[in-house]
Amino acid sequence: MKRGLGLVVVALAALALAVAVGPTRVPWPEFAHSPIVRELRLPRALLGFLVGGALGVAGAALQAIVRNPLADPFLLGLSGGAGLGAVLAIAFAAGGPWATPLAAFAGALAAMALVYRIGLAGGGELEPRMLILGGVAVGAFAGAVTTAVVSLADAVALRNALLWLWGGLSGASWDTLAVVCAYLPIPLALLFAAARPLDLLALGEEPARYLGADVASLRRRVYVAASLLTAVAVAVSGVIGFVGLIVPHGMRALLGDRHRVLLPAAFLGGGTLLVLADAAARVVVAPRELPVGIVTALVGVPVFALLVRRWTTS
């Protein structure tokens, strides 16, 4: 409980820090009514928090249903599908500021449907091994098509499409934030409601069945909800790696395995990590900016190594 509260405090501090720092200096007297703070830093920090949180929860839930510590929101082919959607939108010069995110979202959903279908190959149930294999295969296929499109396209836009894929929160605005806020509650509620059966599943498939969990329907629900979270994350911010892989493990090390605690903690932890990583991405090489996915990897991997060491020694 104490640690949970600590996590909330850290999350709020991270948000405050992200709004306070930036590549330019905003003097304190002007802070409250500076358009830089109101229109740029604030929506960006909040969007980063929601995206990081969504990725953290999606990662924790997927690791639980496939019972594999390597599972991550992008392992199951969604990044490939979203990337293909985005690149096609840029390649065919679809108009409007929402064209690329919508196409990425559609691509992620298409990949999800395909992987889901492959996952059902063994019969009526989603089979974790088939899910992972299907995810890797669909991801590789989408990646190949993306590379084909990019290699046939104009060099400048190609570079930009790739940069977009590397992930970044520079598209953040109050509009994007409103869309994400309206969208997130449903998949999040679905996952939080599955916390108890996910605990049972952690005991093993057979024991979970004996204890009354409907494993087949649980897997389907959780897979779809986690994919919906990932799809919106990739649509607004590109492919941001490592958050969904590392945060759930870190939270398990800190707060234990119970999903009723783990899922909200993964949300807070993921949000905190991404907000801090984005602050670093904006500040470290200012006036230039790093793709945030690079920072999450650079920061996340050493932290992860430390946590795993603590986890295994205690």
Partner: protein
Amino acid sequence: MALRIARRRSPISAPTGVGIFAMRRLAHRTHLVRVVTLCVAATRTAPAQGQPGLAVTDDAGRPVVLAAPARRIVSLSPAITELLFALGAGERVVGRTTWCDYPPAARAVPSVGDGLNPDLEAILSRRPDLVVLYHSPLNVGAATHLASLGVAAILLRQDRLEDLRRDASILGRLTARAAAGDSLAVSISEALRPMPDLGVRVAILAWENPPTVIGGASYLDELATLAGGHNVFHDLRTPAAVVSLETLAARDPDALVVLADSGAAKPPQFEREPSWRVIRAVRTGKVLVLAGTLFGRPSPRAPVAISDFHRLLAGVR
């Protein structure tokens, strides 16, 4: 900015498999002959063969020697294609890249595909006696390969107007149009004299998400300066860099310059977005659109580009 799907290798008469092998062998043999001739020539006095204009060193430091003025040229860069046409050597261009769209007559030349990592087979099928490549690490391998097949290949830098001035005189000599090359070089030098300073500070946007601006190492930065403006990202030492909107807002340019793709110069879409309206130039509607083919590459049309740019900047003040 639109991203176009490249049309794949348009109307080249594809050589038959037998044809290409025979051609390579033949090319190899002529190469040997040429090496022998060169060795003989070298024992006498350099430069070789009484045609001093036909031996040059390219930007990669490779010696390039022609036996006779180039008659069949494959140009692997839009800037070079423009330059060759401006030299009056347009009818000798027998191959171009997909992106060579100026002058209109250039479009009638068969395309050999991309200018970076070019398709050697498509180039050889045009039977060139000179291939001009953009000086990039991606092209050094292709140039060496072409040279080993006995086809003269020259790597030329085309990043600044100064490079183009040099390219004009080099290509003038290699096509035996030295006078035209030198006068073109002179007119480019004249363009290099800056227009009166307008004191207008600009940011040049290459892409909007993530916001990517033109830095000091780009040709566009040079154009802006020559046109009497100041690039607020001149201090960035790369051709282009991703920056945050916050930085753009804080550097507070008087105008935002957007490079439109060739042809359809549709107005940028961000003008109504609240996050972009933090930038004063966007709020006040000072967004200038430049057409891509005239401004996107150093070309003999630079004087036109500079005076057009100057006029646009003067309108901002």
